[in-house]
């Protein structure tokens, strides 16, 4: 090595160090990262801005559109536009209606139970105009003339089940149903779809046209709907479009970045008592759980969440000045059996097989050890009441491998622990396997599960291990979207799945009234496994149509025992973490809406 080379080497080191130093100098500046002024949260005694982790909403029209029914859109929608009814599950009010956050008063029913009379509260649009039944009629005309474009529409349900909509006066309207329904079901699960829209601003067919009574003509109602939909597809104008400036909720949009940050400010003319108490709400989207958690750990979010994979960090976050609050939803989690599978369907139709499998799922232990106490057992089709959450109260089956083994042995199966259990006594008599189960049939099932959730993978491994102890083989296949590949099996079509899990964040979230007509009734739209039971249908119908308050319990008790699906630990909707000085967040709404207008800094 010459001296020149040595000098060259030193020069190169110097150059490298200079580059590194340049980076270091850049790194020595003040910490940025807070977009806007969200960092100046109340916790530091600054202004009253609240920054929260929140996916960017991408649908503003308060008539849900197919593909845009995500939770963030519902929360965003109710912040800007109050619906006829919002609900508070914990309240003792009539049908759990949250009057403070609703535009309507509780409905009164006619003696025959067919007609509901609904009065509107004294409320105004943000431009000062009163909210009247004309605005309800406007919504009615739009949805009844555009059912196919409305995501909430189900054939035979609302508004098909309304024989007559009538305006009584400026503040009163009536709905007459085609038949008598359970009031709880109708108010909770049908009237929740009613939005109230500013007719005096939105009733136009194009941006340049005049506002008129276009909605009263079916053809024109279609044009109005299409115009509003088109406007709702223009994300870049959400903060500037005059249409969206007229609101009925406590918030208004200050700025909106497509796929980015959204800022809401209190509506200065909001009519309600629940006015926003903070000066600005900054909704910050994140590209993933890790990005969100890094920012939360750095203390730059006032409201965020702890990803399920970081549940061990709960005490750390509490030490950093956050309240950690598991957010339970009104939900259940389950694994459907595919009763329509030509090979394994006959096995699932045997109740003792379903019972045996259920008894091999240790829900309490899985909830505690695998989900870190961030899940609670599901006992039946109706979510457990809050006071029983986390217990096995009401569960028809507990974890009992010995009982499961006995059930199989008593019904013609030769159990081979950690091997292959097979049917050795085919037939339909007592002590035999059951109809359409041949000699030598193994208990081997293909379970489609969700990828991307470590707790789910561990849970499946645990269940597979327990099942193996009585010779039941589970072949677990993880896919990103298990619902898509475990759809209802149509006659003649390929039918490859036996069991399906799509409940890493809960399988099903209910509206106020947790009935099962969409899940477990024969031909129900989300009855993926085609479960069909005459008595279950009868009980589901009773819960939907009868005004007997016990109908829902009867339905729950029967299905909890009959096992249309395997009941599974139900994960929390989210492990929320918010600054201890932020009050009004708890209790979090089991219906998964959020009301930041109730939040304030201590």
């Amino acid at each position: 090595m010459t001296r020149t080379t040595a000098r060259l080497g030193r020069a190169l080191i110097g150059a490298g160090l200079a580059c590194a130093l340049g980076l270091s100098l850049a790194a020595c500046g003040p910490s940025g990262g807070q977009s806007g002024d969200s960092g100046a949260s109340g916790s530091t005694g600054g202004d009253k801005v609240v920054s929260m982790a929140f996916r960017t909403p991408n649908w503003i029209l308060p008539i849900s559109a197919p593909g845009f029914t995500q939770g963030e859109n519902a929360i965003f929608g109710t912040a800007l536009y109050r619906p006829l009814y919002n609900y508070k599950l914990a309240s003792e009010s009539n049908h759990h209606i949250d009057l403070d956050k609703s535009l309507g008063e509780a409905p009164t029913f006619s003696e025959d139970g067919l007609t509901m009379t609904i009065k509107l509260r004294d409320a105004t649009w943000s431009d000062g105009k009163p909210i009247t039944t004309r605005d309800v009629e406007f919504w009615w005309n739009l949805v009844t003339n555009n059912k196919d474009k409305w995501a909430s529409y189900r054939k035979g349900a609302f508004p098909d089940n309304i024989a007559k909509f009538a305006v009584v006066d400026e503040h009163t309207f009536t709905l007459t149903t085609t038949q008598k329904y359970s009031p709880g079901w109708f108010v909770g699960n049908q009237l929740n779809k009613i939005s109230i829209l500013p007719q005096h601003v939105w009733d136009k067919t194009s941006a340049d046209s005049q506002v008129g009574d276009h909605d009263r003509t079916p053809a024109e109602a279609v044009k109005v709907f299409d115009f509003l939909t088109e406007q709702s597809k223009d994300l870049s104008t959400y903060a500037t479009n005059p249409l969206w400036k007229v609101t009925s909720g406590p918030w208004q949009i200050a700025s909106y970045v497509p796929n980015g940050q959204v800022e809401l400010v209190p509506s200065p003319t909001y009519w309600g008592a629940d006015k926003a108490k903070v000066s600005k709400l900054v909704l910050r989207p994140f590209t993933g759980d890790d990005a969100e958690f890094n920012v939360l750990r750095a203390g730059e979010l006032d409201y965020g969440y702890i990803p399920a994979s970081n549940v061990s960090q709960v005490s750390y976050m509490e030490g950093k000045g956050y309240t950690v609050d598991p957010w339970y939803g009104l939900s259940i989690t389950y694994i459907p059996f595919n009763f329509a599978n030509p090979k394994t369907g006959p096995i699932f139709k045997q109740k003792y097989v379903r019972q045996a499998m259920q008894q091999l799922i240790d829900q309490p232990t899985i909830s505690e050890k695998i989900w870190g106490k961030m899940a609670a057992p599901t006992c039946g089709p109706v979510p457990q009441p809050a006071d029983k959450m986390g217990t096995m109260d009401g569960c028809a089956y507990s974890f009992d491998p010995a009982a499961a083994k006995k059930l199989l042995e008593d019904n013609g199966w030769t159990v081979v622990p950690d091997g292959q259990t097979t049917c050795t006594k085919p037939g339909t008599g007592a002590g035999q396997c059951g109809a359409d189960i041949a000699q030598g049939t193994p208990l081997t099932f293909k379970l489609i599960s969700q990828s991307g959730f470590s707790a789910t993978s561990k849970m499946m491994a645990e269940i597979k291990s327990q099942m193996a102890k009585v010779g039941i083989t589970l072949e677990i296949q993880e896919v990103p979207d298990s619902v898509s590949v475990s759809q209802k099996c149509e006659a003649g079509a390929e039918c490859a799945w036996d069991l399906s899990f799509f409940g890493s964040q809960g399988s099903w979230y209910f509206p106020v009234y947790a009935s099962g007509e969409r899940l477990f009734a024969t031909d129900a739209p989300v009855n993926l496994g085609l479960y069909s039971d005459a008595k279950a249908d009868q009980l589901i119908e009773a819960s939907q149509f009868s005004d007997d308050a016990a109908a829902l319990k009867a339905y729950n008790d029967y299905l909890a025992e009959d096992l249309p699906v395997l009941w599974m630990p139900n994960p929390v909707y989210q492990i929320s973490a918010y600054k201890k000085v932020l009050q009004g967040v708890a209790p979090q709404d089991p219906l998964n809406l959020m009301y930041p207008e109730d939040w304030s800094w201590k």
Binding site: G29, S35, P66, T287, N294, V295, D481, V483
Partner: protein, 318 residues
Amino acid sequence: MVSFMLRRLGQAFVVVVLVTIIAFALLHALPGGAARATLGKEATQEQIDQFNHENGFDQPVHVQYVHYVGRILHGDFGYSYKLNQSVSDAISQRLPKTMILSLMSTILAIVLAIPLGVWQAVRRNRGPDYVITIAALLAYSTPIFFMGLLLIILFSQVLPILPPEAPQGYEVWEMFADPTALVLPVVTLSIVTIASYSRYVRSSMVDNLNEQYVRTARAKGLSEFRVVFVHTLRNALFPVITLLGLYIPALFSGALVIETLFNFNGMGLLFWQSAQNRDYPVLLGVTLILAVATVIGAVLADFLYAVADPRIRLAARA
């Protein structure tokens, strides 16, 4: 030279067409479908059918493909049924920012890797060379996700001097509103590149320093600086030129790991989320852009190599 480039461009066009056909076929062969993924498990069969009809999914695949190509020729990449945005908007919102981040990390990598590689070569088989080699191998074998997480914990949480996320904002210029927010993602993204490029440069330099033309140059009394930087480095950079050409797709594709870690809404994430959501129009749009970028990168690498090394042109004529 011209015919060589024309031939390569022709091949590139065929590759792009083939990529779109294969991507189209594979997407439609996926189990499940766009309708279910978009509308959710609550959607009725009528809604599924309507969605499929509106998006042309009820047509044969080859017909769908012809329609798709027809729309592309008119500059219409379609509409994302998940983002509520046109594909062009979704891509144009992310692509410039992704390219800036990737370019910055590439520039940083080149600025550091070339001197490091040269220095290792001239000081080969000595202490510093071994130290840098070990460091490079360590950096190269450390998962980028872990590296990023380590940097975040160190510089955002233990020593809170840098933001834990990349610059936010809608406009491209907002990338530079807070330069400190660029440091961690750029450094994390460049570490592996620095490690690999420096190894290539070192190895290539070592080969060339042993060549006879270097000995001749030294015998002629040229300064060591001229020998290393004028004579040797030019030849030693051929492999790096090829690497840079092949790195061009990465400028467009973004880096999913970095984007998810540093909250950077870029092309990598767009592609990933679209795949998760079966958002076919976006997937195809991104695939098309990446295919074009890849072949451009390959053609550019050939071109640069041909410019840098006359022997390539001679081979093409032969």
